[in-house]
């Protein structure tokens, strides 16, 4: 008889909690952003394709499906670290033997050499190059993600990737590396 009561009690308890849990699962469903979204927000959105995928989103999907997290050179070490945190895996050095800290660059078109072929315009994933057929092109520096994709298509090699200039706002207090030549 005791056994019966025990079973009954446990059984009903299990039932009650089961119902509560089930209700909670339905009632308080978390519309949490799927993992792909989260990965996508971590990626730098240069859309450069250096990971081997056509853009950041596809790479985010690939990571969600188990691809390596160290294929994003523009994001650098910091992105790898964040991805490692999110995915719960070990952070790895960047693939391809890149140096840890990416140099930020922007594309620069030497305009007197530009022939107006629009090839770079087509290549630019973020529409940061403006110009028209047989007209010179120019890069909107504020929009350029430094992805490199326009360099190769250029038939006359007139696009350079220049490092972003340091301004007083972005200068990081490297007191030991101030490039001033002493006059006296």
């Amino acid at each position: 008889m005791t056994l019966f009561y025990a079973l009954l009690a446990l059984g009903s308890l299990a039932l009650i909690f089961g119902l509560i849990l089930g209700f909670a699962a339905v009632r308080f469903r978390v519309q949490g952003s799927p993992i792909v979204e989260q990965i996508d927000t971590i990626l730098p959105q240069t859309q450069c394709g250096q990971c081997g995928y056509p853009g950041c989103r596809p790479y985010a999907e690939a990571i969600a499906n188990g691809d390596e997290i160290n294929k994003c050179p523009p994001g650098g070490e910091a992105t790898v670290k964040k991805l490692a945190d999110l995915m719960g895996v070990e952070a790895k050095p960047l693939a391809g033997g890149e140096q840890a800290e990416p140099v930020k660059t922007v594309a620069y078109i030497r305009e007197d050499e530009c022939i107006g072929c629009t090839k770079c315009i087509q290549a630019c994933p973020v529409d940061a190059i403006v110009g028209a057929t047989r007209q010179m092109h120019t890069v909107l520096i504020d929009e350029c993600t430094g992805c490199d994709l326009c360099v190769e298509p250029c038939p006359v090699d007139c696009i350079d990737m220049l490092p972003v200039e340091t301004t007083k706002q972005t200068w990081k207090w490297q007191l030991d590396a101030i490039p001033v030549t002493q006059i006296d």
């Binding site: 996508d40 081997g52 691809d67 530009c114 090839k119 929009e143 993600t145 038939p155 490092p163 030549t181």
Partner: protein
């Protein structure tokens, strides 16, 4: 409120938390009256000496200016003009090291004084009470006055505050050790400062004006009390000597028991703080009409024989100040602009005095010892006890070291005023402030990047959408048209359509990405799941190395960008580039590229105009056909176009050369192209560089040059001058020229021949594996994949030719269509 004013009038002050008592050292410099320096032989006036945008330059090199004449005029928000400190000639307008911790170059006007010190015409307003609010604001604005205490906030903005001001606080605290500029200014010109206060009162009508002075300046307190005694809205309040009581927020708390909300401004709580120096400058501007061209600077420190205060013209080099006061440097001399707590060391004494320069401190090593090595933090929290903002510097330091930016924000890093009290008391001599400053910059950068990434993502998505839309629209258009055409034509159009489609697809992400996908697919088929980006990465790494080298080179200051105003230098640049490329390829040394940047403004402007037009056009999916006026860059463009066309032709793209825009003076551009081409070729063939260009005057030459260049590029890709390759390249350029004019048959033959030749060459190139990894670029691979197809069968050849023709036609149609619409 009444009670508060009552308390203030009774002399009550509300101490702020923390604070330190560093040795004052003010006696070094406050004993003697302010002296006037002899005119320097050179003045360096930076365009920007305050927070905000710099004004627009209104003088030019070689111009003679009078003392007080405006050199810039305010344009954008927060821009403040600068004025000529003395009469003389502008010898140069160039980038000079700035009076900023980074010493990053800043556009500066260099004036050689003529010794006459002749004023321009001044318009004094003795009866300032009659002036309207806006007139006064304009005077302050046009006199170039910005905060002279430290940050350099434009005064006219503060004076024009739209918020009701209860307390006008005059910051005469001068809590930094060593500095006595405000002290002596008050002793000598108390009445003028009070007049300045009255002008501010007229502008802001505050309930009460409080002058806060530290109790270590009895003479100044006396002088100010004397000058303000007939006015009971002005109170001189003595505050205890604690660093940093002169900080704006600390002073407000000290005098009114109010706190400025985080990320807010004092005006939010009805308080406005002005420095005494600023008020003096306002008085000078209004009553005497003199713009801000000089200020009191304390020159002090144990290495200065005549430590004291001087009237220094803005732009006077620090060297002049030091020399005039007798300076005997010690080894490892530091020269600090500002005080010992918040000032910054100068990398050179060839920097000019600016509006915020209140002190030049040249200490020896006994008075201000050099910082010892950083030791471990023992969490003693002496820093927290000293922090006037009640932060936890010790915690911030750990987070800053481990780059935990979220934590830093949570612990209110941005409320740090960088006063240095924490680092002053730290027993482990940790440079805390330095850590915070770096972290602040990095956080700001990260935020900016995040915003940029968001925008990039958005643009990427929009672009994708647009491409899809365009493709759809094009498909629809082509579906409607071909009804009446013959079967043959239909076929052609269909081919063209196919081509368009494929090129569309390609254009979606183009070369690298497409290639990557292709590769990825290939790999997938062969069993490997993930795309291999090692090749791209390698390429990228090389490019970055280049960028890094460039940066390093720039930082070393070894090379400045050559101004390439004439075409000759463009040629030189091209040659240099070619040489550099060769060098890079030969032994992977860093490439030094010279970028002609200057003198292209019209071109850029045109490009932007065009861009705008294009954008507008794109909205309706119409290509732009109009040509904005392009002055004499036309030549260059034309040449370049010719080059590209030739290249295309060389690639057997069979696009008929339609028309050449009028080219009057192409010599130079053509020459440049030739030079580059030759250089490239030479680089490959390891030959000497030809340095002379034959004069070429007609279009043919331009085309020829371009062809040469194309050849060179191809050669570069193939990396080996092979017999086969050579043949193919040579055969290519001739055909298009003929084919553009002659019968279908010829065209076909030529094209086919060219295609075969090229394919062979490419094959050969590919077979040459040794160096090709670097050379054969992604796009060429792609092209190869696409183009090797016609080689296989006869009919495919035909198809290719047909396709090309169709494409040309389609393009024409399209253009016509768009022209019409």
């Amino acid at each position: 409120m009444e009670k508060l004013i009552q308390q203030i009038k009774q002399g009550k002050v509300w101490p702020f938390p923390g604070g330190i008592h560093p040795p004052g050292q003010k006696g070094l410099s406050n004993a003697s009256p302010i002296t006037r320096l002899p005119l320097p032989d050179k003045l360096v006036v930076p365009l920007k000496q305050h927070i905000g945008a710099n004004g627009q330059l209104i003088v030019e090199k070689g111009q003679t200016v009078l003392k007080g004449q405006a050199l810039t005029k305010p344009v954008a928000n927060w821009s403040v003009p600068v004025h000529a400190p003395t009469s003389g000639v502008i010898t140069d307008i160039c980038q000079m090291p700035s009076a900023h911790p980074s010493a990053l170059p800043e556009l500066s006007i260099i004036i050689a004084p003529d010794g006459q010190d002749k004023w321009c015409e001044l318009t004094p307003h003795i009866a300032f009470a009659d002036l309207a609010h806006d007139e006064l604001i304009d005077i302050i604005h046009n006199s170039g006055i910005s905060g002279m205490g430290g940050a350099g906030f434009p005064t006219y903005i503060k004076a024009d505050s739209r918020k009701p001001i209860e307390f006008l606080i005059v910051n005469a605290v001068e809590c930094e050790p060593y500095i006595t500029a405000d002290d002596v200014l008050m002793r000598e010109h108390a009445d003028k400062i009070v007049t300045g206060i009255k002008i501010m009162q007229q502008l802001l009508s505050p309930t009460l004006t409080i002058i806060g002075i530290e109790d270590n300046k009895p003479e100044a307190i006396e002088a100010m009390q004397q000058a303000a005694k007939h006015d009971d809205t002005i109170i001189v309040q003595t505050v205890p000597t604690v660093y940093p009581s002169g900080g704006e927020k600390q002073l407000i708390q000290l005098l009114t028991d109010k706190e400025v909300p985080s990320a807010g401004i004092p005006a939010d709580i009805g308080v406005l703080v002005h420095n005494v120096g600023t008020l003096y400058a306002i008085e000078q501007a209004v009553l005497e009409g003199k713009p801000l061209i000089e200020r009191v600077v304390t020159v002090t420190g144990n290495t200065i024989h005549n430590a004291g205060n001087v009237w220094a013209l803005l732009g006077t080099e620090i060297k002049h100040l030091l020399d005039c006061q007798g300076f005997s440097p010690v080894p490892q001399q530091r020269v600090v602009m500002g005080g010992p707590m918040m000032g910054f060391t100068l990398p050179t004494v060839r920097i000019g005095v600016i509006k915020t320069t209140n002190c030049i401190l040249a200490p020896d090593h006994d008075e201000l010892a050099e910082p010892g090595p950083e030791q471990a933090c023992i969490r003693c929290s002496a820093c927290a006890d000293a922090c006037p903002a009640s932060l936890l510097p010790q915690q911030l330091q750990w987070f800053a070291k481990s780059k935990e930016y979220d934590k830093l924000k949570e612990y209110n890093l941005f409320d740090c005023i960088e006063c240095g009290a924490c680092a002053y008391v730290c027993p482990s001599e940790i440079p805390l402030v330095q850590y915070y400053r770096v972290a602040k910059v990095e956080i700001k950068e990260q935020q900016a990047e995040k915003i940029k990434a968001e925008r990039a993502k958005e643009r990427f998505e929009l672009r994708k959408e647009r491409l899809e839309r365009e493709q759809e629209a094009r498909q629809n258009r082509h579906k409607r048209k071909p009804a009446a055409k013959s079967a043959d034509e239909k076929q052609k159009v269909a081919d063209a359509l196919a081509r368009v489609k494929s090129s569309d697809e390609k254009s979606d992400n183009k070369s690298a990405v497409a290639a990557a996908i292709a590769r990825a697919k290939a790999k997938k088929n062969s069993g490997e799941l993930e795309p291999d980006n090692s090749e791209v990465a390698k390429e990228r790494a090389a490019r970055k190395e280049q960028a890094r080298a460039y940066k390093a080179q720039k930082e070393a200051g070894s090379s400045t960008n050559e101004t390439a105003d004439d075409k000759k230098s463009a040629v030189a640049a091209a040659i240099a580039r070619a040489k550099a490329k060769k060098a890079a390829k030969a032994d992977e040394e860093s490439v030094t590229e010279q970028v002609p940047v200057d003198d292209k403004k019209p071109a850029v402007a045109a490009a932007i105009a065009r861009a705008k037009a294009k954008k507008a056009a794109k909205a309706d999916e119409e290509p732009v056909t109009e040509q904005p006026p392009v002055d004499d860059k036309k030549a260059a463009v034309a040449a370049a176009i010719a080059r590209a066309k030739a290249k295309k032709a060389a690639k057997a793209d069979e696009e008929p050369v339609t028309e050449q825009p009028p080219a009057d003076d192409k010599k130079a551009a053509v020459a440049a192209a030739i030079a580059r081409a030759k250089a490239k070729k030479a680089a490959k063939a390891d030959e000497e560089l030809p340095t002379e260009q034959p004069p070429v005057d007609d279009k043919k030459a331009a085309v020829a040059a371009a062809i040469a260049r194309a050849k060179a590029k191809k050669a570069a890709k193939a990396d080996k001058v092979e017999e086969l390759n050579e043949v193919s390249v040579v055969s290519e350029p001739e055909q298009p020229q003929e084919s553009a004019l002659h019968s279908d048959e010829d065209k076909k033959k030529a094209a086919v021949a060219a295609a075969i030749a090229r394919a062979k060459a490419k094959k050969a190139a590919k077979a040459d594996v040794t160096k090709s990894a670097d050379e054969v670029t992604v796009s060429s691979e792609l092209e190869q994949a696409k183009e090797s197809a016609p080689l296989s069968a006869e009919d495919k050849k035909k198809a290719a030719v047909a396709k090309a023709i169709a494409r040309a036609k389609a393009k024409k149609n399209q253009q016509e269509g768009s022209d019409k619409s």
